[in-house]
Symmetry: C2
Subunit: 170 residues, 2 copies
DNA sequence: GCCTAATTGCAACTGAATTGCATTAATGGC
DNA sequence: GCCATTAATGCAATTCAGTTGCAATTAGGC
């Protein structure tokens, strides 16, 4: 069977929406020159498909159970993707790291939303103006990150307070 | 002996620079209406005296060894100070939480510097303009935080790379 | 197909922070 | 000043995200 990649059959037909992110992941990983492996493809495809930043746990949930990738491998793949610039990492107030596929330019300045209730993180990308802040002598700024904190749609004040716990993840 | 407070003698003379933060801590803690305890005073005084945000470890180092406050108590005092609005918490990329005395107004917008090498966190406070970012429907912004990431004076490129490790703290 | 270095899996470990519960001590009333 | 009340602390055990060491596997070049 020709067109095999990481044990997944590659069709020459237009990719279904579900498969598009796998093809995109393949391409991005190949572009680094490093090895194309199943865990890398699965993790990156999951990030590409996600509409929000994903934690390690959320990735474990979303990756096809039939694949059964080790937790440590997921951590290592995430580190690798971040080092390659294919993903970026957001440190949450809950001490959990969440990851986004870095499809768009993230140099200089970048913005995220963080829900203070459930921890949801969204990439906003609508932030440009190099902010003017005065740093002490010898300090070198490299990137600027704007974090908007508040309540996400699922945690807003219109919802009954006790129907959602801080442990809730969307 | 009159004028005792938490086992520390209170002088009526102008306070020495070293004692000023203790007096200020006393006042701030009393203003909450809760109990004035030695751990609360020690932790808040250390935060008030610090020129940068302090981690739990850094607080343990700075608190008078003769006092010997339990680690858990420090964690609980920090939570309490934060809940009272007397301190605020910054989540670092290294998954360590650092704390600032919240002397100045922190409502709405706030800025920090984070050294990507050693983790040092500085409160900048020079950030006001409510930034314009578009949020998805139903998302409610509450605070804005600008994080400037880069290298601190101690970690700058002029320093030999191997003289400072990421574990180093200022 | 074979070789080899890169990658993965597994188990043990780390380090920050939290929890449960018994003990201590700050404060208000006497 | 003393006592009672109950908030706060101390201590041990635990949780939880993430890391490390090392042996086993495998992607990709030949
Ligand atoms: Mn982002
Ligand atoms: Mn601050
Ligand atoms: Zn939420
Ligand atoms: Zn530094």
């Amino acid at each position: 069977m020709a067109g095999l990649c990481c044990n997944r059959a590659m069709s020459t037909n237009p990719p279904s929406p579900a498969k598009r992110h796998y093809l995109q992941a393949d391409t991005l990983i190949r572009s680094t020159g490093a090895r194309l492996t199943r865990p890398r493809v699965e993790v990156l495809a999951a990030l590409l498909a996600a509409e929000q930043a994903l934690s390690h746990h959320e990735l474990e949930e979303r990756i096809d159970r039939s694949v059964d990738i080790d937790r440590v491998t997921i951590y290592r793949v995430l580190d690798w993707l971040t080092a390659q610039g294919l993903a970026h990492r957001i440190a949450g107030d809950d001490r959990v790291r969440r990851f986004n596929a870095a499809g768009h330019a993230h140099e200089g300045a970048h913005a995220h939303f963080q829900c203070e209730r459930c921890g949801t993180v969204l990439c906003l990308d609508e932030f440009s103006a190099d902010p003017v802040v005065r740093l002490p002598r010898g300090f070198r700024p490299q990137h600027y990150e704007l974090t908007v904190k508040g309540l996400c749609a699922g945690c807003g004040p219109s919802r009954r307070a006790d129907t959602r716990t801080p442990a809730h993840r969307h």
